[in-house]
């Protein structure tokens, strides 16, 4: 198994931005996660290792350092609720409770039907519009109970 050619072409262009190829690794990990099922599998790590001339264990060391990379499959939709101070002061715990209840996913886990993963994360830089969550890469801010319900309900 190897990386799809479209990704290889992307990476071939990307590595030109840096004096050392390896610098493109984290960008490449993002692209792999986006296009290869929402997580970084061991196979992907081996393939990236082969591409960058790294041992798979080195790719693993890098991928496991960064919270944004999922090293296990997730639900179809990922809700990341900020639980840091500005959000906590404005009801983040309530948001977390509502999101977990509505989606059926435990905090840090995935719902039984595989549709939702819910996690709480550190400061996302939306402090002036707290509380917030990131749903599949999109920020939803100034949350209220009504808004949370509407946003989650609109997800197909």
């Amino acid at each position: 198994m190897a990386l799809p050619q479209t990704l290889v072409d992307e990476f071939d262009a990307l590595v030109k931005n840096y004096p050392e190829r390896r610098a493109a690794l984290i960008m490449a990990l993002h692209r792999c996660q986006e296009t290869l099922g929402g997580w970084i599998s061991p196979q992907t790590m081996e393939d990236l290792g082969a591409y960058f001339g790294l041992e798979p264990v080195e790719v693993f060391g890098v991928a496991s350092f960064y919270p944004m990379f999922n090293l296990r499959p997730t639900g179809q939709h990922v809700v990341a609720v900020c639980h840091n101070i500005s959000c906590d002061l404005r009801g983040a715990q309530d948001v977390i409770a509502q999101v977990c209840e509505t989606t059926g996913a435990p905090l840090g886990g995935t719902s039984k039907d595989g549709r939702w993963s819910v996690r709480s994360v550190e400061c996302q830089g939306a402090c002036a519009n707290a509380p917030m969550f990131d749903l599949d890469g999109v920020y939803h801010e100034d949350l209220t109970a009504e808004k949370v319900g509407r946003i989650l309900g609109a997800v197909r």
Partner: protein
């Protein structure tokens, strides 16, 4: 507060400013072009910036001109030179660079190019935190527009100055906002900060001379070059010059990011910009500059929000991210949240930080949940003193220790009470589904 002139967020107010045409209409790129056309040298840009008194806006507050002057003499040191823009904005309470990137990405580009010119860098890497997708897309798009217009790449604006801009993403680690952690991450590795010395100017990206600057810092450069150091130095207080972006969040009526000159007090910001404390409540405690600085009491709100005044008051400006807490707030809970943050974000290299951040977090969590022990306060203090200052490779250890020591100093009685009662009297009620947004 006195009336003051704005410049940082002026263009951002105009719809479409993130696109080149509008940006130019609003006067964008004139500063860069003037510098390049009139033959102002990089050294002159450095000197002007030094004279202006501009200090880094990423939290450390180091003189920008002086930092630029640390780069080696390009005629003697032939290594490639880099500028890295720190757009990893992850300090709790901080959301200001985001505004600039989303609403004035060309402003960031112009500032980056001018800064790169000053340090004779051949390439700029803009390291945007992975979660800031809109910021990344806006800046990337603006770079493409600028390149097409001959403003990025070879012979910028027809001059001899060539400089590339590359977009780069982080992936969720706060420690990659530390300049050496950022460089490790940019090089495709785990974001483990490096020991200093050597400093980035001597050995940075790929061991080449590098300067790392915050988004807002370089954003100021075109304004300084256009209007002059004297103009910039005329704004603000003796050691804190120019306008800056203040973020204010927490228990206020109008949280937001506001452009202000140095010299205003926290009270003025709270009342005149943020609409005062919400629900008619009183201010109990607040962070002036993100969570890595000392907590202040409500009574400290009279302090001028600048470097010297906050230092004199026992805290620091940090990222000017004010987090305001009302008198219903549990300090034990606040510290539980803050300590957990550092516990999560420690890279794990240094023994004191790796174990200490976890230990502090465990203690605050117990106190906040009614399982405090009598010697917890003394232990917190002692651990914090063991974690700082300057005992570790980077300052994350210090960043965890400082708020801890301030909480213990200013709110000792409250913490002791939590321990004595074996409960937190100020704990929020358990979350109810219907109470999101309310408190």
């Amino acid at each position: 507060m006195k009336a003051f002139e704005t410049y940082l967020l002026d263009r951002a107010k105009t719809e479409g400013n993130h696109q080149l045409a509008t940006y130019r209409k609003l006067g964008g790129y004139k500063s860069l072009e003037k510098v390049l056309e009139t033959g102002i040298t990089p050294q002159q840009v450095v000197e002007e910036t030094k004279k202006s008194g501009l200090r880094g806006r990423g939290g450390a507050g180091f003189s920008t001109g002086m930092k630029w002057s640390f780069m080696p003499d390009a005629t003697k040191d032939p290594r490639p030179r880099y500028l890295a823009i720190n757009a990893d904005e992850s300090e709790p309470g901080t959301c200001k660079d985001r505004v600039l990137m989303e609403k004035d990405p060309h402003g960031l580009i112009e500032g980056s190019l001018l800064s790169a010119y000053a340090i004779r860098a051949k390439a700029v890497y803009i390291y945007v935190r992975g979660e800031y997708r809109l910021s990344y897309d806006r800046v990337a798009s603006a770079v493409r527009e600028a390149r097409a217009a001959g403003l990025v790449g070879k012979n910028i604006a027809g001059s001899d100055f060539s400089c590339e801009i590359f977009m780069h993403k982080g992936a969720g680690a706060y420690i990659c906002g530390e300049e050496t952690g950022l460089m490790e991450s940019l090089e495709g590795k785990r974001g483990h900060p490096r020991q200093k010395p050597p400093f980035p100017a001597q050995s940075g990206l790929w061991q080449s001379p590098t300067t790392v600057n915050n988004v807002e810092t370089v954003f100021n450069a075109p304004f300084i070059m256009e209007r002059g150091a004297a103009w910039f130095a005329g704004i603000g207080t003796p050691n804190s010059k120019g306008n800056f972006l203040v973020g204010i969040s927490g228990h206020v009526n109008k949280p937001g990011v506001y452009e202000l000159p140095f010299g205003v007090t926290a009270h003025e910001i709270l009342e005149e910009k943020a609409g005062g404390m919400w629900k008619g409540r009183k201010l109990k405690a607040w962070f002036p500059g993100g969570s890595s600085c000392a907590l202040l009491r409500g009574s400290d709100v009279d302090v001028v929000l600048d470097h010297d005044s906050l230092k004199a008051r026992g805290s620091s400006l940090g990222t000017a991210a004010m987090v305001m807490m009302d008198d219903h707030t549990s300090i034990a809970r606040v510290m539980e949240v803050i300590a957990r943050f550092y516990e999560h974000e420690s890279c794990g290299q240094c023994s004191q930080c790796r174990e200490g951040t976890q230990w502090l977090s465990q203690i605050f969590r117990r106190i906040a949940h009614g399982r405090g022990q009598p010697d917890d306060i003394a232990t917190l203090e002692s651990l914090a003193l063991g974690m700082a200052p300057g005992k570790t490779i980077c300052a994350l250890s210090d960043a965890a220790a400082i708020p801890t020591l301030s909480a213990v100093k200013l709110f000792k009685d409250e913490l002791i009470e939590c321990i004595r009662q074996q409960r937190d009297p100020l704990a929020s009620p358990a979350p109810k589904y219907a109470s999101v947004g309310a408190h």
